[in-house]
Amino acid sequence: MTRGHRTRGDLALVALLALTLAAAATFLHAALAGGRLDGATREGRNLVARLGLTDLALFTEARYTRHPTQADRHAAFQDHPMALEHFPSGSMMAPPPFFGRTAHDPLAPATASPD
């Protein structure tokens, strides 16, 4: 290997450096893009505020997948007792919170508290 002569090893190192810089650039890009609200997000936020929306329209196939936060307490098995979950998005969504620690029940025991 003579001075000034580029070997395959050097090329590999240059390529590695370029890829590392590109990976570092993604952090910068994400930080810059995440720091400001783009038009779509602003538009969405305005609509959420105006209409009082509570959920994303990601899964529109069933009531409890369209509005997971507003669903019945026994969603996702809500069609009738012992109904099996059959919507594909059901496997993508977290089980209802009351299967573990409930999200709503903590309010219940506190109702006796004074004004």
């Binding site: 090893g9 190192l13 993604t26 538009e43 529109t60 369209r66 997971p68 507003q70 977290a94």
Partner: protein, 378 residues
Amino acid sequence: MTPWLQRQRHLIDFTVEALARRKGRNLALLVVYALMVFVLASVLLFSQALRREAALLLAQAPEITVQRLVAGRMDLVPAAHLERLAGLRGVASAQGRLWGYYYDPATQANYTLMVPLTDPPPPGTMQVGPTLARFWRLGVGDVLSLRTHDGRAFPLSVQGILPTDSALVAADLVLIAEADFRAFFGIPAGLYTDLVLKVRNPREVAKVAQKVQRDLPDTRPIIREEILRTYAALFDWREGMVMVLLSGAVLAFMILAWDKASGLSAEERREIGVLKAIGWETSDILAMKLWEGLLVSVFAFLLGYLAAYVHVAAFSASLFVPVLKGWSVLYPDFALTPQVDPFQVFTLFFLTVFPYALATLVPVWRSAVADPDAVMRQ
């Protein structure tokens, strides 16, 4: 350049030449390796981006939503409840919302029909969500006929289409006037789907929710915090589910990589023997092999991660859309702003790069400490 650096440079050069001699095998490994990182990183970046989008959008959701439960199911709320809650100390305003689902057999999709809290469209007209409008190719002035609760046709003309950019929250919305909504679903005046409360002091939201449940025990208050938590949990769960599904592929890859990295071919063993015979130290051979493991795994990681970033940032994770869509007929089109969690990226880096690099060392060390003559004769 210091002698140490010079030495490493020569070692890397030698390693790259050695890798190039088995070009096909190493390229195939690199591609599979990068593909695995790509899929894992795509899941992480996509979930992170969706989580951010949900948190930003739903930060404007109602502070408290109050539902009425009858036999454990959501029921209509009487206006008396609304008056009672409006009078609660700490409540700035209370409004009754009217919304419901309409299943359209023609499209086999559920629409969300809603009465806006402010500026509702005039009776006989509607504003539709962008995905629904695209699905039916609706323009302003077009008429869409829906079927009421008692089977009558209910024509509504399009007064406006909600902005395309709001598809993530408004894809399937149909906004109509209150009178139309009540006639359509047969809901008499004085009944609402649920109530939304504004609270004067944001720190009192939980307290007000407690009061709501104390005063009206048949209700279920949902505070904004819970909505945000539900979505955070939803995306965590999804990420976990996809990771579980992918774990089979990851394990298969690990077996392949371990086999490739920890087993030495006869050719590689002979190469080590020759290197030792011509005077290479055991430490040189270990360093050379460590470089080999690091080069392959770091290249694969960087290529996979960058491809995943482009996949999520530029193509909105289009490869995942068929999986996410499920049975949703009206799936929103939305662009995601990428978000990188350095902790997640470094975890992925450690889990994918280091095991491979280390796996290459053990068998080499075993061969490298042996007598060169014996190694070459094996």
